[in-house]
Amino acid sequence: VVISASVCTKTGKAILSRQFMDISRSRIEGLLASFPKLIDNNEQHTFVETDSVRYVYQPLEELFMVLITNKNSNILQDIETLNLFVRAISDYCHTINTHEIEEMAFELSSVFDEIVNLGYREYVSLQQLRTIYEMESHEEKLAAEIEKNKEKEAKELLNRKAKSLELQRKEMQKKMAAGGMGYGNSMGYGSNSGYGNSGYGSNSGYGSNSGFGNSGYGNNYNNNNYGNNNYGNNGGFGNNSNYNQNDYNSDNRFNNNQQQNQPFRGKGMQLGHKNNNNVNDLVSQMQEEVNNQVMADQMAANSPNEPPTPTEPVHAIISEKISLAATHDGGLENLEIKGDMILRITDPNSTRLRIQLDNSFNRNFQFKTHPQVDKKLFNSGSVIALKDPSKPFPVGTPLGILKWRFATRDESFIPLSINCWPSLAANGTCDVNIEYELEVPNITLNNVSIIIPYPGMGNPTVGEVDGSYNINHQNRYVEWQIPIIDADNRSGSMEFNVQGNDTNSFFPVRVNFTSSQSFSNINVSINL
C-alpha cells in the first residue's frame, strides 16, 4: 500500500507530502531526507529499497515525485499510481518548480487524496480527477433550486395573506360605502387558496383580475402561462402580468381612498365562486399553479408594505366551488357544489358574536356546521352561534364554521351550456363550431375560459370568434376567453379549422370561470 506521496527536492526536503497512513512526522521527514542519498542517478530503474520501505520515484525536472510504500506493495500498481500522480501534477501546475508546487500545495494534496485512499489505489482518470476537483454537483444545484422555491413559497404565502387581508379591509370599506347592500361590488379573488385547496386556489389569478375584464390582460396572462409551461420564472412575461397587477392595485387604492373617511365597523364579507368543468386535467392545473406562484411572487415584490394582519376585527369569507362533468351530447354526468364559510376574528373584544345569514339561501343544500356551533339555532333561524354562549370564538385563527354541499344530475342546474360541434371537412381538416349559452339568467360569470384540445400537428386557424382566443401549441389546445357572460350577453360562438380527422379528439372541452355570486345564495345579512 502507498504510505505517502511526496514532491521533494534533490536534497530530500519535502515541498509537499501527503500521507495516507498514520505515520509520525519525524519518521516521514527522515525517510524523505534519506531518500536522495539512496538513489543512484546512473541507474535505469527508479526505485530503491531500504530494509523497511520502498521508494518509487520519478524525476520532475529539478524535483522528485516519490511514493513511499511498504516492501510487499504491488509494484505494478505502484508504478501506475506514480504515473498518475505525475500526470496530475503536470495537469495542475504549468511549470514544475518549487514555487509552483508550493502555490498549488493544497489543491494538489486534495487531488492526491483522490488517487490514493487509505493506502488503496482509486481507479480514477485525469478527467474524473478534474470533475472531483471542481466539485460541480447537479444535486447541489437542484437542492439550491428547491431551497429557493421554498423560500419563495413562504414569501408568497405571507404576501398572499397580507394581500387578502388588505383586500378584505377594502371590501369592508366599500361595503360600508354601499350602505349595507347585501352584496355589491365584490372582487373574486383567491384568498381561499391560502386556506387550503390549492388546486382550486390556482384559479385565483383569474379571479383577482376579473373586476377589470381586461382582455389585453388576459392575453398577457396566457402568454405568461404558456411561457412558464415547464417551470421556472420567465422574466419577460412575468413583468407583463406584474404591470397589470400594478394597475389593479392602484385602482384598488383609489377605491380605498374614496371611502377612507367612512367609519366602518361590521362584518366583512367575501364571495368567491368558481365552476370547473372536467377539473381532473392535471396538466393545466399544474400550469396554473406555477402561474399562480409567479403572480404571487410579483405581488410580493410590489407590495411589501402591506400590513400583515387584517384590520377588520371580524371577517367572514364565503367561498363556493362548482364542478360538473357533462357528456358531449349534453347529458349531465354529475354536478357538485361545495362551499364553506370561514370566520376569522382578530379583535379579542368581539369574540362573542352571532352571525345572521340571509334567509334567502337555497334550502336544498346539505349544510354542516362546526361541531361547536349550535345546530338547532342554525336550522331554525339561520343564525350561527356557539353552543355554549359563554365560550368565545378563537382569536386570530381562521375557523370554518359552515360547510355546504349540493350534488345533482338535474340538467336544469347547469349554469352554462357548451355545444362543441366538430365536423370533417375536405382535405383532412376539421371544422369546429363551438357555442355557449348561459342557462341561469340571473348570474354573471367572469373570465370564462373554454379550452378545446385539438389533434394532429397542424396549427388551427380561427375564424369567427366572440371574445378572444389563444392557442397553446405545446399542449395543443385552443383557449377561448370570454371576459364576462351575463344576462345581456348570454351566448357566443367560435369556429376554427384544424388538420385532423378524428372528431372525438376535440373532447373533453374544459371550462373555467369565476363569479362574484354564489350558487347557494348564502349571505351574511348585514345589520348595522
Binding site: 504510505i3 509520525s24 519525524s26 500545495a105
Partner: protein, 941 residues
C-alpha cells in the same frame, strides 16, 4: 506514538510571516478569495509547528459559514492539523460547534463535499466528535452517488477500527452493502473493509461469488487476493478453493493481479505445481512489463522463491535467461545472478550455450554498456565452467576470442579462467596452448600478456611447443637486439624529421596502488605520437611504455622454456642457439630500460629478477636448486592456490549446508502437521512489514537501560530541577523532561526553551506552564536529526516569580547527542572502498595513542567504539607480525558513508600509527575522529 501527520508543506522562508493579528483581521473582513489565502497561510503555519490556537474561534466564526468549495476543502485540511483537545486531553469546547458543521457537510447536497468530509472523518480520532455524526455517515451509505458511498464505507471502517462501540453493527452493515452494491469501487472498499474488520464474513462473501471473480475489475481482484492471503491462516479456510481461485487469477488480464496472485500462491501452498506456476507467472511478467523497476522487483521475488524452494524451479533456468533480452544492465545482472544459482549439471550445457550465443551477439550488436554486459557474460560462463568442469572445454575457445578485448577486466577474467582450466583439466593443455599462441598478437594489455606468458612457460612441454613459443615471443618482440633496433629506427626518424626538437618531458606525480608516490613521465612531443602510430609488436610496445614487470615475466618464461628445452632436446646446438637468443632478449630488456627510449628507467627489482634469470641460464654447471625453482615450484604454488580456493569454496558450501541443517534437538516441522501458529507467524510477517514501514513498531527497551540514559539538566539546589530521558529514534530525538518546582511558590509562565547546534531542529514551539509549589510536570520535546554530526542541545527554563517583574532563568546542562546511535556497520567491496577513498574530500587523521598493547585488540576496540565494520578479511589480519593495516567502513542511517584506514606498528610495548577517517561531509569525519580520540585510551577491564 506521536500524532500522525498527514501533510507536509514547505514553508517559504523568504515570505514575510503574518502575525496572528493580521490573520485574524483578514478572516474578519476578507472576502472569500482573501479568506482562502489566509487559510492557506494558517494551515502552512500550523503544519510547520506553530499551533495558532488563538485562531480557532475566528475560523469557526468567519470561515465555516462560507459556501465556497475551495474554502470548504481548506477547512478540512485545517481540521486535520488543528489540535482538537486541550493539553489535559479533554475535547475543546469550540469543537462542539465544529461538530455541527461536520454534520451539515455530511448532509450537504453536493456529493463531493459529502465525500471529502467523509474522508476527513477517517482521520478524526475523537469519539466525542464522531458519535453525533454516526447517523449521517450511515445515511451516506445509501447515497445516490458512488463517490459518497465509497468514502462512507471507508469512514465506517476507520471509525469501527478505532472505536468499535460507536458502530457495533458495522460488520453486518458492510456485508449487506457488499451484496447490494453495484459500483465496483464501492464494492472494493467494502471488501477491503470487511477483510480488515471481519475476516470470516469476507470469506463467506467470497464463497458466494467464486464464479464471478474472473469478471471483477483489477481493484476487486486485488482485494480478493488480499482476503485469501489473510484468511489462509484460518484453520477452517477452504484452501483448495482458494488455490483454485488464485490459479485462475494467474491468468488475469491485469499484470498487478498476476503479480499478487503469484505471490499469494506460494504462501498458500508449497506444492511443486504451485511454485512452478508462480515462477512462470513471474517470468512472464518480467518479459511483458517494460518497466525496469518491475523487472527488478519481480526478479527479486523470483530469487526469494528460488531460495525458499530450491531445486523445484531449476527447470526454468532457460526461461529466466530469456530475460536477458531486456536492455538494462541491472536487470541482466540480476537475471544472470539468479540463473547461475539455478545452474545444475542437467542444464549447464544449455545455459552455457545460451550465454555463448549472447556473448557472440555482443560482437555485432550495439547494446548500451556493451562492454559491461560482455564482462558480465564472461564472468557468468567462467563461474559455470568452474562449477561444472565438463563444460570448460566447450567454452574455453570461445572465451579465448576475447583475449584481445581492449577492456581490461574481461580479458583478465578470461586469462585467469584459462589458467584455471589448464590446471584442472590436463588433457586440454596442449590444445589451449596452441590456441593461446595463435592469439598472442592480438593481446593488448600487460596483465593479459603476463598471464599468457606464464601459461606458456609452464605448459609448453614438448620440443615443438617450445620452439613455437619462442617463435611467437620473437614475433611479439620484433627486431633484436632491442636497444640497437630502437636506436636505428629513432635515427631514421630523426633524419626524416630533423625539425623535431628535443623531446619534452612532463612529469606528474601518481599514487600507486600500494600507497607510495611514483613519478610517471610521458613524452609529449609530436614525434612520440608518430612513433606510436607506427605498428610496433605488442610486447615491444609495452616495454617501451615502461612495463618492466612484463619484462621480468618474459625473462622468467624464457628461462623456463630454455631449461625445459635443454632437458628435452638432445641437440646441443639448437639449445645453445635458443639459449643465447633468450639471453639476448633479456639483456635487451635491461638495456632498453636504461636507455632514453623508455618513459621511466627500469626499477631495481626488475633488473635483479632479470639478472637472476640470466645467471640461471648462463651458469655452468646448472644450479639444480634454481632449475627446480623455475620449473616446478611456481606451478606447484599455483596448483596449491587452486586447491585452496576449491577448498574454500567447498568450505563455504559446507557452511551454507550447515546453516540449512537442523540441529538434533530442533523441532521438526512437517508441513502436513504444521501447527497453525507457525503459519500465522509467516503471515504476521506480512503485516509486520507495514508496521515496520510506518515506523510504528515500539521497541520495548528495558527499564534499566532507559535509566542509564537519564540526564540531569539542573542542580538539586536550583529552584527548578529538571532531568531528561533522551530517547533516540531513527530520525528524531525525543526528550522526556521532568520539571520539579522546588520552591514553595507557584511558578508562572514556566517555559522550557531549547536551541540547538549542528544539524538538529526543534519541531514544536514550547508552551508555557504554571507549576504549583513542589509540583512537577513532564514536557516532551521532539528534535529532528538530519545528518550524522555531533549535536548539542542547549536549553534554559524561564519563569515568572510571584512578583510581576521578576523573571528568572535557569540554564540547563548541554545535552550531547551521541552519533553512534546513527552509525551502523556496513560492508562494501574493496574497489568501491578505494573509489570512495579517492573521492571523499574530508580526511581526519588521528594518531594512535593508547594503552592497549595488542594490535588486534586495538582494532577490535576501535570497531566497537565507532560501530564500524572491518573490510579487511580475517585471514589477512591473522598471524603475528609487528604491523597491521585494515580498512573499516560504516554507513549512517541517513545514507552517509564513513571510511577509515588504520595503520599500526608495534613498537616495543606500545602501538604507534594513525587512523585516517574519510567522509563526504565534514561533520561525520570530525565526529568520528573525536569519538576515537576520546575512546582509544580508555580500556575497560
Amino acid at each position: 506514538m506521536t500524532e500522525p501527520c498527514y501533510t507536509l508543506i514547505q514553508q517559504d522562508d523568504d515570505k514575510e510571516q503574518s502575525t496572528i493579528q493580521d490573520l485574524k483581521k483578514a478572516l474578519e473582513h476578507g472576502r472569500d478569495e482573501q479568506k482562502i489565502e489566509t487559510m492557506k497561510k494558517i494551515i502552512t503555519l500550523m503544519i510547520n509547528g506553530d499551533p495558532c490556537s488563538q485562531l480557532l474561534m475566528h475560523v469557526i466564526r468567519f470561515v465555516t459559514p462560507s459556501r465556497d468549495k475551495r474554502l470548504k476543502k481548506l477547512l478540512l485540511n485545517y481540521w486535520e492539523v488543528c489540535p482538537k483537545t486541550n493539553p489535559d486531553g479533554k475535547l475543546k469546547q469550540e469543537m462542539i460547534l465544529v461538530c455541527n458543521y461536520y454534520k451539515n457537510d455530511l448532509q450537504h447536497p453536493n456529493e463531493f463535499i459529502r465525500g471529502s468530509t467523509l474522508r476527513f472523518l477517517c482521520k478524526l480520532r475523537e469519539p466525542e466528535l464522531l458519535e453525533p455524526l454516526i447517523p449521517s455517515v450511515r445515511d451516506c451509505l445509501n447515497h445516490k452517488y458512488a463517490y459518497v458511498r465509497k468514502n462512507a464505507i471507508f469512514a465506517i471502517y476507520s471509525i469501527y477500527k478505532n472505536f468499535p462501540y460507536l458502530i457495533p453493527d458495522a460488520t453486518e452493515l458492510i456485508s449487506n452493502i457488499l451484496v447490494v452494491e453495484t459500483d465496483m469501487s464501492c464494492k472494493r472498499n467494502a471488501l477491503v473493509t470487511l477483510a480488515n474488520i471481519s475476516l470470516p464474513l469476507a470469506a463467506e462473501y467470497l464463497n458466494s461469488v467464486w464464479s464471478q471473480i474472473d469478471s471483477f475489475d483489477e481493484a476487486m481482484q486485488l482485494a480478493v487476493i488480499e482476503i485469501i492471503m489473510k484468511d489462509c491462516r484460518n484453520p477452517t479456510a477452504n484452501k483448495s478453493k482458494y488455490i483454485q481461485c488464485i490459479f485462475s487469477l494467474l491468468q488475469s488480464n491485469y499484470a498487478s493481479v498476476k503479480y499478487d496472485a503469484a505471490t499469494t500462491l506460494v504462501t498458500l501452498s508449497s506444492h511443486e505445481t504451485a511454485v512452478k506456476a508462480s515462477a512462470s507467472c513471474y517470468i512472464s511478467l518480467i518479459m511483458k512489463v517494460p518497466d525496469n523497476n518491475v523487472k527488478l522487483i519481480v526478479l527479486n521475488k523470483l530469487n526469494e522463491l528460488r531460495e525458499k524452494h530450491g531445486r523445484i524451479i531449476d527447470g526454468m533456468t532457460m526461461d529466466i535467461l530469456c530475460v536477458l533480452s531486456s536492455p538494462d544492465i541491472e536487470v541482466r545482472r540480476k537475471c544472470i545472478d539468479i540463473a547461475l544459482e539455478m545452474v545444475s549439471s542437467r542444464n549447464v550445457d544449455e545455459v552455457v550455450s545460451f550465454l555463448k550465443k549472447e556473448l557472440v551477439k555482443t560482437h555485432d550488436q550495439e547494446y548500451e554498456r556493451n562492454t559491461e554486459y560482455r564482462q558480465l557474460l564472461i564472468h557468468a560462463i567462467h563461474t559455470c565452467a568452474i562449477k561444472f568442469h565438463e563444460v570448460a572445454a566447450n567454452v574455453v575457445y570461445v572465451l579465448m576470442e576475447f583475449l584481445g578485448d581492449a577492456h581490461n577486466a574481461s580479458a583478465v577474467d578470461v586469462i585467469n579462467f584459462v589458467k584455471e582450466v589448464l590446471e584442472k583439466i590436463p588433457e586440454l593443455r596442449s590444445k589451449i596452448v596452441t590456441k593461446l599462441m595463435e592469439s598472442f598478437m592480438e593481446m593488448k594489455t600487460g596483465r593479459v600478456f603476463r598471464g599468457a606468458l606464464w601459461i606458456i612457460g609452464e605448459y609448453c612441454l614438448t620440443v615443438e611447443d617450445i620452439e613455437a613459443a619462442m617463435n611467437e615471443i620473437r614475433n611479439t618482440l620484433g627486431d633484436l637486439p632491442l636497444l640497437a633496433s630502437e636506436q636505428r629506427s629513432y635515427e631514421n626518424e630523426n633524419e626524416d624529421e630533423k625539425k623535431d626538437g628535443e623531446e619534452k618531458k612532463s612529469a606528474q606525480p601518481r599514487v600507486l596502488a600500494d600507497g607510495t608516490y611514483a613519478t610517471e613521465s610521458a613524452f609529449s612531443s609530436s614525434t612520440n605520437a608518430k612513433k606510436e602510430n607506427k605498428q610496433k609488436p605488442p610486447i615491444r610496445a609495452l616495454l617501451l611504455k615502461s612495463d618492466f614487470y612484463l619484462g621480468t615475466v618474459l625473462a622468467a618464461t624464457l628461462t623456463k622454456l630454455i631449461l625445459r628445452y635443454e632437458e628435452l632436446c638432445q641437440d646441443a646446438e639448437k639449445v645453445n642457439t635458443l639459449k643465447s637468443e633468450a639471453m639476448l632478449i633479456m639483456t635487451g630488456i635491461i638495456n632498453l630500460g636504461r636507455s632514453k627510449f623508455v618513459n621511466s628507467t627500469i626499477d631495481e627489482d626488475s633488473v635483479e629478477r632479470i639478472m637472476t634469470c640470466l645467471r640461471t641460464l648462463s651458469s655452468v654447471p646448472e644450479d639444480k636448486l634454481l632449475k627446480e625453482a623455475f620449473l616446478n615450484d611456481s606451478r606447484n604454488a599455483y596448483s596449491q592456490l587452486v586447491r585452496t580456493q576449491d577448498k574454500k569454496a567447498a568450505q563455504e558450501k559446507e557452511l551454507n549446508k550447515k546453516n540449512h541443517a537442523i540441529q538434533v534437538d530442533d523441532v521438526i516441522n512437517f508441513s502436513l502437521l504444521k501447527s497453525k501458529k507457525n503459519v500465522q507467524s509467516e503471515n504476521d510477517e506480512i503485516e509486520a512489514d507495514l508496521t515496520r514501514a510506518t515506523g510504528s513498531s515500539s521497541k520495548t527497551a528495558k527499564v534499566t537501560s532507559q535509566l542509564s540514559r537519564v540526564m540531569q539538566l539542573t542542580g538539586f539546589s536550583d529552584p527548578v530541577y529538571a532531568e531528561a530521558y533522551v530517547n533516540v529514534h531513527q530520525y528524531n530525538i525525543l526528550l522526556d523532561i521532568l520539571i520539579v518546582n522546588q520552591t514553595s511558590e507557584t511558578l508562572q509562565n514556566l517555559t522550557l526553551e531549547f536551541s540547538t547546534l549542528g544539524d538538529l531542529k526543534l519541531l514544536e514551539t514550547p508552551v508555557p506552564h504554571t507549576l504549583r509549589p513542589h509540583g512537577f510536570h513532564t514536557v516532551k520535546a521532539n528534535i529532528k536529526v538530519s545528518s550524522t554530526e555531533t549535536g548539542v542541545i542547549f536549553g534554559n527554563i524561564v519563569y515568572d516569580g510571584p512578583g510581576a517583574l521578576d523573571t528568572s532563568c535557569v540554564i540547563l546542562n548541554d545535552i550531547h547527542i551521541d552519533i553512534m546511535d546513527y552509525i551502523k556497520p556496513a560492508y562494501c567491496t574493496e574497489t568501491k572502498f578505494r573509489s570512495m577513498w579517492t573521492e571523499f574530500e574530508w580526511e581526519n587523521k588521528v594518531n594512535v595513542n593508547t594503552n592497549i598493547t595488542d594490535l588486534r585488540q586495538y582494532i577490535n576496540h576501535i570497531m566497537k567504539t565507532t560501530n564500524m565494520a572491518c573490510l579487511t578479511p580475517e585471514h589477512a589480519l591473522s598471524g603475528e607480525c609487528g604491523f597491521l593495516g585494515a580498512n573499516m567502513y560504516a554507513r549512517s542511517i541517513f545514507g552517509e558513508d564513513a571510511l577509515a584506514n588504520i595503520c599500526l606498528e608495534k613498537q616495543g610495548d606500545s602501538i604507534a600509527g594513525h587512523i585516517r577517517i574519510r567522509s563526504k561531509t565534514q561533520g561525520i569525519a570530525l565526529s568520528l575522529g573525536d569519538k576515537i580520540t576520546l575512546n582509544q585510551k580508555i580500556l575497560k577491564n
